[in-house]
């Protein structure tokens, strides 16, 4: 048994980390936030060059054919730099949906272009995952309704939408009857949109069903958790560095035990979750029977640990912590989105309880 990243995975982690440290300094994040851009093109170019959108695309379609654990490693590094690029929607969820439920033509049409980063596919799952009955329905072979909190939408060529029964549909972003409304959320690094559909021509992914939708949810939970792991560690590292530099009462504030314990608690609460994120990601490919349980717990644990780290790291910085100048708030907000999207910790735990027969939805 080996419970660790492989040598290749460690190398990928290192090269992503150093490339993103160079390519995605705070200035890039701030620029995207201030100008309300969908993504940073320079960072996106680096990410594509490193093969990030190709990770989950099968080799037959020009991808790397790797596992969700590899995608989670990438997510951690993107979170660490709060990288303003599409990832979860296009490179993870749309890719998995196409891989697992699309026809050969649909795969051939989209997967090679997703892998290079040429095409981005937005993803609309919120209503279907909440089981709320809202969202989109197919009538007369066309989609009607609306979907909120759509991710990776701003520069998408197409959207993947889920109906309540788990059926997945692809629609062109140019299709008549489709109307996109940008939403303004706290996290400027991954903008959200709303889609309105009034009789839009749609292609069903023929193999899609409730099980596909569950796997998409679980994959999203794992990737959100991994993103928080990276973003949280970035906040801790910055806090520790600040505690060395900042002096009050004639000494570095890091010598004050109250400050030290804030940092120790952040590190302890966050690092204890790393292994379950790995395990849940591994389960996606190797142990599907326990995936939902572990993904739900990973999402809930990181939702809570992330929130704790985000506020505590801000506190360590004193007044500076809440300034736009320092920019730490971009990570606070990134962690906030990871926590809320596709259900907060309480909802994820409820799903875990349902999985084990402890509760009904």
């Amino acid at each position: 048994m080996e419970f660790a990243l492989s040598e290749a995975q460690r190398q990928m982690q290192d090269s992503l980390r150093s490339a993103l440290t160079r390519a995605c300094p705070l200035a890039r994040v701030r620029d995207v936030a201030d100008r309300g851009l969908a993504r940073d093109d320079a960072v996106w170019a680096v990410v594509c060059e490193l093969g990030v959108p190709a990770l989950l695309v099968p080799e037959a379609h020009g991808g790397l054919g790797l596992s969700l654990l590899d995608a989670a490693i990438a997510a951690e590094e993107l979170g660490r730099r709060a990288a303003p690029v599409p990832f979860l929607g296009s490179a993870v969820l749309a890719t998995i949906a196409l891989r697992e439920a699309a026809s050969a033509e649909q795969q051939a049409q989209w997967l090679p272009r997703i892998a290079t980063g040429e095409a981005v596919v937005g993803v609309a799952l919120c209503e279907a995952l909440a089981g709320a009955g809202a969202g989109v329905q197919l009538r007369d072979e066309r989609l009607h309704g609306s979907s909120c909190f759509v991710i990776d939408a701003a520069q998408a060529e197409a959207y993947l939408l889920a109906a309540a029964d788990g059926s997945l549909y692809l629609v062109s972003a140019e299709a008549p009857g489709l109307h996109r409304v940008p939403l303004l959320s706290i996290d400027a690094t991954r903008p959200l949109s709303e889609l309105h559909l009034d009789g839009v021509v749609a292609q069903r992914l023929p193999g899609s069903d409730a099980r596909t939708l569950r796997r998409l949810r679980d994959a999203a939970w794992v990737i959100n958790a991994a993103d928080t792991l990276g973003a949280g560690w970035a906040m801790i590292d910055q806090s520790v560095a600040f505690a060395h530099d900042r002096k009050q009462f004639g000494r570095a504030i890091g010598t004050f035990q109250a400050v030290k314990h804030m940092c120790a608690e952040m590190a302890s609460e966050l690092e204890i979750t790393r292994a379950i994120v790995w395990y849940a990601a591994h389960a996606f490919d190797e142990k599907p029977e326990v995936l939902s349980l572990y993904a739900a717990h990973a999402k809930a644990l990181l939702g809570d640990a992330g929130q704790f780290v985000a506020r505590t790291a801000t506190e360590v910085h004193g007044g500076m912590g809440i300034t736009d100048d320092l920019g730490l708030h971009h990570w606070y907000k990134r962690i906030g989105l990871n926590r809320q999207l596709y259900g907060g910790p309480g909802w994820a735990r409820r799903i875990a309880a349902v999985e084990q027969g402890w509760a009904r939805i």
């Binding site: 419970f3 010598t255 030290k260 314990h261 940092c263 120790a264 204890i272 509760a359």
Partner: protein, 390 residues
């Protein structure tokens, strides 16, 4: 990530399972603070013969003599825990002193003490803490003064678990009063029946006397009873503490406690959504620690230093263990107040007792606050506190 077992480990697992089916019913748990009785001694003997106790201790010292293999040890612990079967005697002699002697003891010390300790015939207590030296252990004042071939010990220890039942003590004494605080300590082994040893039990909040005060008046200990070099006791003690912290944060035990807790909630028909959410929170933490344990296991196999990941386990493990007991007592509502022997008591008052006992584990073996100091300073490289002006 490769979670498959190799064929050697698969075979071991089969043997362990067969053993548990055949012999599991004979297992006897260790009761903290009590000497092992005849049934527990017999169970321990069976485990030693099969290599489920003292597995990697060389045969010369009464062990089973298997090659060290952390995965094997993990599988054995996990299977026993899953089956609810006690893994033989769990006391401070076996979990802390034996590994320390194997690492740092003389041949004579190993032969004299390891076999009898493993069998359960020799019971030890840990004499570290003093009234004036708890978290600041290195400030201990119990004196050891050389006199001919002996060291003469005077002073007092406190919180000494099992001292009232123990045959021997592994004890820290200051032998070099003029050396710097950490450099003047020696690690001594001596009999609790030695003239000049007095024991006063201390009753704890559980109502039992789990630990004691121990007084030394001119206790004579031969010099060859020092482990390691004279004055090197701090290093030796730290070897012991490392073993203690690993022992206190056994994720298998958390899994077992969690399973017991879910059975309790099922039996009581608990369906309150708030309690259920708390149960799921704890399940998440238990599963996370199980995965964390596997991560550390792989580090140990590869002889990699887990760094910060290793420093957080005692803090995390003891906290969750306590929270599991607290949730059980909450779920039992008023019945959760009832202690052993009371009408209407559930599970014989076990969960209240655990909540209190497990609180002691958060404090013992290095308090939660001391763990946080260690995480911050050693794990995160934060600056030390300036020395207080004397």
């Amino acid at each position: 990530m490769d979670l498959r077992l190799n064929s050697k480990h698969e075979k071991l697992l089969e043997r362990v399972r067969a053993f548990l089916v055949e012999h599991g019913h004979r297992s006897v748990p260790t009761i903290p603070g009590e000497r092992p009785g005849p049934r527990l001694l017999a169970w321990q003997k069976l485990l030693l013969e099969h290599g489920y106790a003292g597995r990697t201790v060389p045969r010369d010292y009464g062990g089973y003599g298997a090659e060290p293999d952390v995965m094997e040890q993990h599988l054995i612990t996990e299977e026993f825990t899953r089956a609810g079967v006690a893994l033989g005697i769990g006391n401070q002699g076996i979990s802390m002193l034996v590994p320390t002697l194997l690492e740092l003891g003389t041949e004579e010390q190993k032969h004299a003490y390891i076999p009898a300790t493993l069998r359960g015939d020799l019971v030890w207590c840990q004499g570290y803490s003093e009234p004036g030296a708890g978290s600041d252990l290195a400030s201990l004042q119990t004196r050891g003064v050389e006199d001919g071939e002996d060291i003469v010990v005077n002073g007092q220890k406190i919180w000494t678990s099992t001292a009232h039942e123990a045959d021997m003590i592994f004890c820290l004494v200051r032998t070099e009063p003029d050396a710097p605080k950490h450099a003047g300590i020696s690690y001594l082994l001596f009999s609790m029946k030695s003239p000049g040893v007095t024991i006063r039990p201390l009753k704890t909040m559980t109502g039992r006397a789990e630990f004691n005060e121990v007084f030394f008046t001119d206790v004579r200990v031969p010099r060859h009873q020092i482990v390691g070099q004279r004055g090197d006791g701090w290093k030796v003690a730290n070897a012991t503490l490392k073993h203690e912290r690993g022992y206190l944060a056994n994720p298998g035990l958390l899994t077992q406690r969690y399973a017991e807790l879910t059975r309790l909630l099922q039996d009581e028909g608990v369906d309150d959504p708030v309690l259920l959410d708390r149960l799921m929170q704890l399940q998440g933490r238990v599963l996370a620690q199980q995965c964390h344990g596997m991560r550390l296991l792989t580090c140990a196999e590869r002889r990699e230093d887990p760094g910060l990941a290793g420093l957080i386990t005692k803090l995390q493990g003891c906290e969750v263990r306590h929270q599991l007991a607290i949730l059980a007592t909450d779920a039992l509502e008023e019945s959760g107040l009832l202690v052993a022997g009371s009408p209407h008591a559930r599970a014989n008052g076990l969960w209240q007792e655990r909540a209190m006992f497990d609180l002691g584990l958060i404090i013992g073996g290095g308090t939660a606050q001391i763990q946080k100091n260690i995480i911050a300073e050693r794990g995160l490289g934060m600056p030390r506190e300036p020395k207080a002006a004397v």
